[in-house]
Assembly symmetry: C2
Homo-oligomer: 134 residues x 2
């Protein structure tokens, strides 16, 4: 069912410092910050030859990553995202296998403008997994 690893998302307390670590120290292809007010984050995309790293920083009140950064003040990997071809078919297959979908269970439009769902970390090795329809 799952296809490519679309991205690894890392929550960071200081976006400029993290961008400089990746651009200046690791020599990666680091894009500009992009505010995503609908998702409560500012994002920087790092383009690797085979996938992306996304640096996430809270934007506005009630950011979904604020609590994570309180628990992990130095930052850390927040989630990984796998691509699927049909998100509704993927969801129904997951539910049939007993996996839990976070939120309402209906896909939302994610930061890339495509339908996404998040799966319960306890069902997947303590890891928050996002599925994105490609």
């Amino acid at each position: 069912m799952i296809g490519r690893l679309n991205h690894v998302a890392i929550a960071v307390p200081d976006l400029a410092a993290a961008a400089e670590q990746y651009r200046g120290t690791l020599g990666a292809d680091v894009g500009p910050p992009q505010d995503e007010p609908a998702h409560g984050v500012t994002v920087i995309f790092i383009t690797l030859p085979n996938t992306k790293i996304e640096l996430l920083h809270p934007l506005g009140d009630n950011s979904p990553i604020a609590g994570f950064l309180e628990k992990n003040p130095s930052g850390g990997i927040h989630h990984i995202c796998y691509e699927v071809e049909d998100i509704l078919a993927a969801r129904d297959q997951l539910i049939a296998k007993g996996a839990r979908i976070l939120g309402s269970g209906e896909p939302k439009i994610g930061a890339h403008g495509k339908p996404v769902l998040f799966l319960h970390p306890k069902d997947f090795t303590g890891t928050l997994v996002e599925l994105e329809q490609i």
Copy 2:
């Protein structure tokens, strides 16, 4: 400097359960468990179209991931690995930029039989980063 994302390593408390989650529920290409006594882990490789997921479980005494699983009993992402072409050049460039290399600072032979180094999480957004020479 960094190239492809070689893998995402996830430490898991129950290797068989994690393999079944990825094989049975997520429909991924999951390999057999491989003991790596020199590294204190049993590994399962999950092959995605563009990169790998590695499930890690402690093997023997003094496993380097035992402490991580004590702090994260459900499991969690342990590290991410970026490829570099020349690990000694990468190391020297990192040190010149003020980044800290874990351990002796000399590359070791990693689980794939290639030279690896680990970087200090505090220098890289709270994330343990492995560099592997390809």
